[in-house]
Amino acid sequence: MNRTLTREQVLALAEHIENAELHAHDISKVTNDYPDMTFADAYDVQWEIRRRKEARGNKIVGLKMGLTSWAKMAQMGVETPIYGFLADYFSVPDGGVVDTSKLIHPKIEAEISFVTKAPLHGPGCHIGQVLAATDFVIPTVEVIDSRYENFKFDLISVVADNASSTRFITGGQMANVADLDLRTLGVVMEKNGEVVELGAGAAVLGHPASSVAMLANLLAERGEHIPAGSFIMTGGITAAVPVAPGDNITVRYQGLGSVSARFI
């Protein structure tokens, strides 16, 4: 894989970006200073941020996919989505509170998450293997928060910034994939009691399970895989909606109940 950064540069960028997250302040996108950065460089930075968190005692509790709509990919001129990781402190209970003072400019997206019961290895991982390896699916609201000024970034920068991951809220109703049509499964997002976004599972790469297969294939490029028991958020079904202190949100899922949270 093509790399342009030295080890020292990767470590410095990881510290710079993670500090922006930890202290909730925005930064200019990293490609301003390193215009030749590649995807491999950007994932090196992301994996270094992950290592820093684990060294500090945080657990990695899942993975997430981003940029999973064909429209967004076409807009950014790419053909594959991106991934990031989820740390233990990202998790917020259903009906819980998200403290926006610890975030920069949060937005929410409605997603479907998978929990696996068998490992998935790429390359060549396909939707059939994903469905066979799925223990259950569960509704999730993701809170994203780019560390970059005005939420403006390019693809390389957002990969280095852990795909804008920051918080997630998981619902309490799980289901077997055999009992649902994830393609037509509808979601209705309400903010302060008003419907603000709607969609169906097909908005995620045609089917949310395709997103998991792509994750396995992306991880394989680094010799990694999806272990059994992984929690994977598959990508936004709806457009991202900004949230502010005082907002409350509920997302209703066809056949999967609802997820809600308050923002202070």
Partner: protein
């Protein structure tokens, strides 16, 4: 607006439909036209269709999404009539060159009634109790007004811009599906172009049918057993042309497809 004027405008819209020649917006002709006037014009248009042998088989509700309401500057839906000349079955070819002018496709949920609904006072419970089944549906809207330059009065007079509709080949009881969260996926020529869910139409397609029953109740008109009620689009309108193939899938309800020639 007097009846002579109403008849003249209704006749003009009828001829526009027959000749497939769009006309200038009624709202840009230098006279005032109220929404009530527009409904009277739509009734004249309907009379002409019935006189030509068409039969009423249902009604449609339009302007149900916030996006379209904002575009037209109104905060309520509108309605039009469905006749037997407008219905196509899933998979059939719709000949644009013979039937339509500037068509756009909308994915919707169709209600088939088993009991009359007579407003005012119709609740969502009444709507569900009176519904035999719901079906996946494409409404092909079409404006007789040039370039779709419509204000609310133009579309109301023009039978709520209804062109024709395509019913899917599945029907389910409203007891078996959550009409608020049921998801919709629309494909055009094999590409997924939009997704949505039931709540896109006034919060629920059931709300739309209740609104129509209550609105028509003021004029002494019932929604009748056996009628098809198109409850409003759940996704953005998509322009279509000859050669296009559209497909809609609705979670828990089924699918419909249409080819344009």
């Amino acid at each position: 607006m007097d009846q002579i004027m109403i008849n003249a405008l209704g006749d003009e819209l009828y001829q526009a439909m027959l000749n497939r020649e769009a006309i200038s917006p009624l709202t840009e002709r230098g006279f005032d036209i109220s929404v009530d006037d527009a409904y009277h014009i739509s009734l004249r248009l309907l009379e002409r269709r019935l006189a030509a042998g068409e039969k009423i088989i249902g009604k449609k509700i339009g302007v149900t999404s916030k996006a379209v309401q904002n575009m037209l500057g109104v905060h309520q839906p509108d309605f039009g009539y469905l006749t037997d000349a407008m219905v196509f079955n899933s998979g059939e070819a719709v000949p644009i060159s013979q039937r339509l002018m500037q068509p756009k496709a909308e994915g919707e949920i169709a209600f088939i009634l088993k009991k009359d609904l007579i407003g005012p006072g119709v609740t969502n419970a009444d709507v569900l109790a009176a519904t035999e089944c719901v079906m996946p549906c494409f409404e092909i809207v079409d404006s007789r007004i040039r370039d779709w330059k419509i204000k609310i009065q133009d579309t109301v007079a023009d039978n709520a811009s209804c062109g024709l509709f395509v019913l899917g080949d599945q029907a389910v009881s409203p007891r078996q599906v959550d009409l608020v969260t049921c998801g919709m996926v629309v494909e055009k020529n094999g590409h997924i172009i939009s997704t949505g869910a039931g709540a896109a139409a006034l919060g629920s397609p059931v709300n739309c049918v209740a609104w129509l029953a209550n609105t028509l109740g003021h004029f002494g008109i019932a929604l009748k057993a056996g009628e098809v009620i198109l409850s409003g689009s759940l996704v953005p309108l998509e322009p279509v042309k000859a050669g296009d193939v559209m497909r809609v899938d609705i979670g828990g309800i089924g699918s419909a497809s249409v080819r344009f020639t």
